[in-house]
């Protein structure tokens, strides 16, 4: 009897219908818990796929909207800042004080 458990055979023992191991594994694999677990995993798989697709769509919409609305703004503001710096440099070079520097201490 103890030797039957050491034998990892899948042959059903004619004497007892199915072996103890086969009965145990089939009872586990056909139990309601496992069935529900499998259904849940399948659902989780579909949900994950949908989530991935909608995240992809959202990322596309967010990315293209950012590209159209924000990137030109950043570029133009950077150019404006460069122009301001250039003007300040030129004004200090030429010796004319910029107008706001004269008005600021008067406030």
């Amino acid at each position: 009897m103890s030797s039957s458990s050491s034998r990892r055979g899948s042959l059903p023992r004619s004497g007892e219908g199915e072996g103890v191991l086969a009965r145990m594994s089939s009872s586990i694999s056909q139990s309601p818990v496992v069935a529900r677990g499998k259904a849940a995993a399948a659902e989780a798989g579909t949900v994950a796929k949908k989530l991935l697709r909608s995240t992809g769509k959202a990322a596309w919409i967010a990315g293209t909207t950012f590209l159209v609305l924000v990137v030109p703004l950043i570029i133009e503001m950077d150019r404006e800042q460069q122009l301001n710096e250039l003007e300040m440099q030129q004004s200090t070079l030429l010796g004319t004080p910029p107008s706001y520097a004269a008005a600021a201490p008067a406030k």
């Binding site: 919409i61 293209t64 909207t65 159209v68 609305l69 030109p72 703004l73 133009e76 503001m77 150019r79 404006e80 122009l83």
Partner: protein, 331 residues
């Protein structure tokens, strides 16, 4: 009571002395009305000298300028040559897709190209603008100041197709703090509108129109409240349209605008937000819509008299993408 020497100092002054205005303020006449910033109780409003309101059709001008740039798809090239101080000729080429309105929600684009020749004559009292296109359309606009307060405007568009031509005559009268306009158009269209300043910041107006061929008439009301920093307008019409808009000037170069439109007949609601950056070298306008439309319009000054235009419009709902590139040459 005391010695006469100290009598004058003991007596408090009857009225508080206002300080002498410095510099330019001493030369200019004092302001009779001040733009209040919430503390309106201390400023005095001169109710007989209200400012003249903007014309009725320009009530939403700031919002329209910021939120509705002329987006296009394709290539646009404009060349304007001034022959005189008053007279200018213009040539314009457009190559690209034009959208054909369709009954279904599909977007139908038809590639088209045209060349437009135009002439402008600008006088202080008279303005004449004419445009001819290669697809057979003619646009003409006349604006004539008959007297100081009365202006005549004529707007005409003639096409090759029959029954598509339209023309409109407008008579504008500008009063001290009101404006009124009378319109006559073809298809027996008659309209009139009137707008009046009721306070230094608020002006109210109304309009009526009558369409002869379809025996339709309508009435509408509008209100506009503006201060130095913001403009808020509301417009209601009996055709079932409600339009609200708000523009806030955040700084010298930046203004933000938002707009809400409700159409009772078609149960259409649209809201949009936009920004308008007016920098030294460029003007950038961006807009986000509740219909899922994102648009941007950039005009950049490359050189003296040379402007580059970039236009982008992405419609996420209909998956429609329109990008345009253009140049404008001429002062």
């Amino acid at each position: 009571m005391g010695s006469s020497g100290s009598h004058a100092e003991d007596r408090p002054p009857a009225t508080p002395q206002t300080p002498q205005p410095l510099g330019l303020a001493g030369i200019l006449p004092p302001k009779t009305e001040e733009k209040g910033d919430g503390k309106g109780a201390t400023e005095k409003v001169d109710w007989l000298n209200l400012p003249c309101p903007v014309p009725f059709e320009e009530i939403q001008r700031e919002a329209l300028m910021s939120l509705k740039p002329e987006l296009f798809e394709g290539l646009r090239f404009d060349f304007t040559k001034a022959l005189n101080q008053r007279f200018a000729l213009s040539h314009s080429v457009f190559m690209g897709s034009m959208e054909v309105p369709s009954q279904t929600s599909d977007v139908i684009k038809v590639p088209s190209a045209h060349y437009e020749f135009g002439a402008n004559f600008l006088d202080p009292k008279l303005m004449l603008v004419g445009r001819v296109l290669t697809d057979g359309r003619l646009n003409a606009r006349v604006k004539c100041d008959l007297t100081d307060n009365l202006t005549l405007k004529i707007n005409a568009q003639l096409t090759n197709e029959p029954h598509f031509s339209q023309g409109m005559f407008n008579f504008d009268y500008k009063g001290k703090d009101y404006r009124t306009q009378f319109q006559i158009g073809n298809n027996a269209f008659y309209g009139a509108n009137y707008i009046q300043s009721v306070s230094p910041h608020l002006s109210l107006g109304s309009e009526i129109f009558w369409l002869g061929h379809q025996r339709k008439s309508g009435i509408g009301f509008a209100a506009r409240y503006n201060t130095d920093k913001m403009v808020a307008t509301a417009q209601v019409a009996s055709t079932g349209v409600l339009a609200l808009s708000y523009v806030q000037k955040v700084s010298e170069k930046v203004s933000l605008a938002s707009d809400f439109m409700y159409n009772h007949m078609t149960r259409d609601v649209t809201s949009s937000f936009g920004y308008d950056y007016i920098l030294r070298q460029c003007r950038l306008r961006g807009k986000l819509d509740s219909n899922g439309v994102v648009a941007a319009f950039l005009e950049e000054r490359l050189n003296m008299g040379v402007n580059m235009i970039l236009s982008a419009e992405i419609d996420h709902a209909k998956k429609d993408y329109k990008f345009g590139f253009g140049m404008t040459v001429g002062e």
